[in-house]
């Protein structure tokens, strides 16, 4: 096991209760703000001390409340990419990277190590620049270079793209993906963005109010989220309370309709979710009368907000989204959804 976490911490009225394990590969911690993602990273790093629990990094015990083990931040060998990259402003790029070179390597090969990583991270020509003179993407690469020469046992990335604009972000995400795949140990990426999580992570843990809601393979989680938090964080807009009303059928009181799910419904079902692009005016399955409320134009798609004919007025409207090229001449009065596209969400 490359990383093994089981921690408990009380922070005022907020409770952090997290347990997971991860081998080599990238694990995403996906959660809304205030769900405890960053706190979890800080506990692994040693910046925060859990009240109880155990943390093991690459087979090394770094924290154990029972046996009073609590290694210092310096001893944990954790590579932590801070949100703002935390480059030392008074040092040049080369000096910043040199700071990361371990003392054991310092005397003999320091210059080789630094110039090797500068080449690998495409930082040639920037050696004498100060961090303030670099672009956001360059700063990120310097911070990563500084961490990689440090030879950490685990890599933690805290919202790696929050300091960048969206254009740069897409470009850098591909680059970062390559770096992460060549890193031989486990990586944890904290994010609230489903795009980042989907592209970078092989597994995703959903965090909700300080608890680990569900942990699963990325593709599986996006295809079939099984909890409300997972559905919401993977981008499902229409989530509503529901209860089973037959072997393959659910009743949705707030929408005033019954939907056929096309597959058996479990007993613990508490809600359903329907992704905005799964509605269609051409479908006869689960077709229901709707009232169009609002049309929102986006660069490449339309978002249409609608209500079911007998929908509870205090419940928000539903989202239907489709590509601009698929827009029918007149918006339909009846919308259907296939049973397999209804996400069944359990407690």
């Amino acid at each position: 096991m490359s990383i093994c976490v089981d921690i408990h911490k009380q922070l005022g009225s907020f409770q952090l209760d997290i347990a997971f394990e991860q081998d080599q590969g990238v694990l995403g911690l996906l959660g809304a703000s205030g769900s405890g993602k960053s706190k979890t990273l800080q506990c692994i790093t040693g910046i925060e001390k859990p009240d109880e629990g155990r943390i093991e990094i690459d087979g090394r015990l770094v924290f154990d409340s029972q046996h009073h083990v609590n290694l210092s931040v310096q001893q944990r060998r954790v590579g932590y990419l801070f949100q703002n990259y935390a480059l030392f402003p008074n040092m040049t790029v080369a000096e910043n990277i040199t700071c990361g070179v371990r003392a054991a390597n310092k005397e003999k090969r320091r210059n080789d190590i630094v110039s090797e990583i500068i080449g690998r991270m495409h930082l040639e020509g920037l050696e004498r620049q100060k961090p303030a003179q670099l672009s956001g993407g360059q700063q990120q690469r310097v911070a990563l270079a500084r961490i990689l020469v440090n030879e950490p046992d685990i890599l933690l990335l805290d919202e790696p793209f929050s300091a960048l604009d969206s254009y740069l972000k897409e470009q850098l995400m591909t680059e970062l993906g390559v770096i992460l795949r060549t890193f031989q140990k486990s990586v944890i990426v904290v994010t609230h963005s489903r795009d980042e999580a989907y592209q970078l992570c092989s597994r995703i843990a959903i965090l909700d109010k300080g608890h680990l809601d569900v942990i699963d393979e990325t593709k599986q989680l996006f295809r079939n989220p099984t909890t409300c938090a997972a559905a919401r964080l993977t981008g499902c807009k229409n989530i509503v309370a529901a209860r089973p009303s037959g072997p393959a059928q659910v009743y949705v009181p707030d929408w005033g309709i019954t939907l056929a799910t096309g597959r058996p419904v479990g007993t613990g079902l508490c809600a359903i979710g329907i992704r905005g692009h799964n509605f269609s005016g051409d479908l006869t399955v689960n077709a229901q009368d709707v009232i169009i409320e609002e049309e929102i134009e986006q660069p490449f798609e339309w978002i249409v907000k609608f209500r079911y004919a007998r929908q509870n007025p205090s419940v928000p409207a539903l989202w239907w989204r489709f590509a601009k090229s698929e827009r029918p001449e007149r918006l339909p009065h009846v919308l259907g959804v296939e049973g397999k596209n209804i996400l069944l969400l359990y407690r």
Partner: protein, 223 residues
């Protein structure tokens, strides 16, 4: 003309400035880490000399170092006497100048981005290295400004100094006590020269502080 007061003033100001530099930084760094109550109490005590009249400071210093008081008596047995000696002036100036260094350094430390220290720690850098190579350079402008202000204050100290070390020509005389003495003895001309010297030194000091603040603003605008 007797230049002794200039030399004596500069000597007292320089030595007390060095003392205040280290003690001010030390206290600023450690007080910020204390529990809240202790921090509040210490903060008031350490800043008091800034707001107390210098004569009150002088009186308190005499209470401690006076030759009829325990500490003063003890110091005398090991051959140290702060009353009526030039190095007593160092003590008086240091006490009065300390809060300026302490408060400016504390302000500078509070503006420090703690994630820099944390990232240094994750890279395995020692706390000492982080303090001298990351924290201090980051807070450099504020610390230099505090040092210059402390120097200026030490140079201009009159109240506590005159009470603790009095005025002995060619011995404890400083610029400020000399000006008072010359005015008292109606030597308007000499007093005027010393006033001019004092104004020049103070103006240079203030210009330095302003330049540093301007540079620090420009540096901030950069990043």
């Amino acid at each position: 003309m007797d230049w002794y007061p200039l030399w004596n003033s500069l000597r007292i100001a320089a030595i007390s400035c060095i003392l205040v530099f280290f003690s001010g930084i030390f206290m600023a760094y450690y007080v910020a880490r204390l529990p809240r109550l202790l921090k509040g109490v210490l903060d008031v005590v350490l800043t008091l000399p800034l707001v107390l009249p210098p004569t009150v400071c002088g009186w308190l210093l005499l209470l401690v170092f006076g030759l009829r008081h325990p500490v003063g008596i003890f110091l005398q047995t090991i051959g140290v006497q702060f009353v009526m000696t030039w190095y007593g002036g160092v003590v008086a100036s240091a006490v009065v100048a300390f809060p300026l260094m302490y408060r400016t350094a504390r302000g500078a430390f509070e503006s420090f981005d703690e994630t820099l220290a944390w990232s240094g720690k994750t890279l395995g850098l020692s706390d000492t290295y982080i303090f001298w190579h990351i924290r201090m350079p980051y807070c450099r402008q504020g610390i230099i400004a505090g040092t210059v202000l402390a120097f200026a204050r030490a140079l201009g100290e009159y109240g506590a100094t005159s009470m603790l070390i009095g005025y002995i020509p060619k011995n404890t005389a400083t610029i400020s006590t000399t000006v008072y003495q010359l005015w008292r003895t109606n030597d308007e001309y000499s007093a005027f020269i010393w006033v001019l010297i004092n104004i020049v030194i103070s103006a240079v000091v203030l210009l330095t502080v302003n330049m540093l603040e301007k540079r620090s603003r420009e540096r901030k605008a950069w990043s």
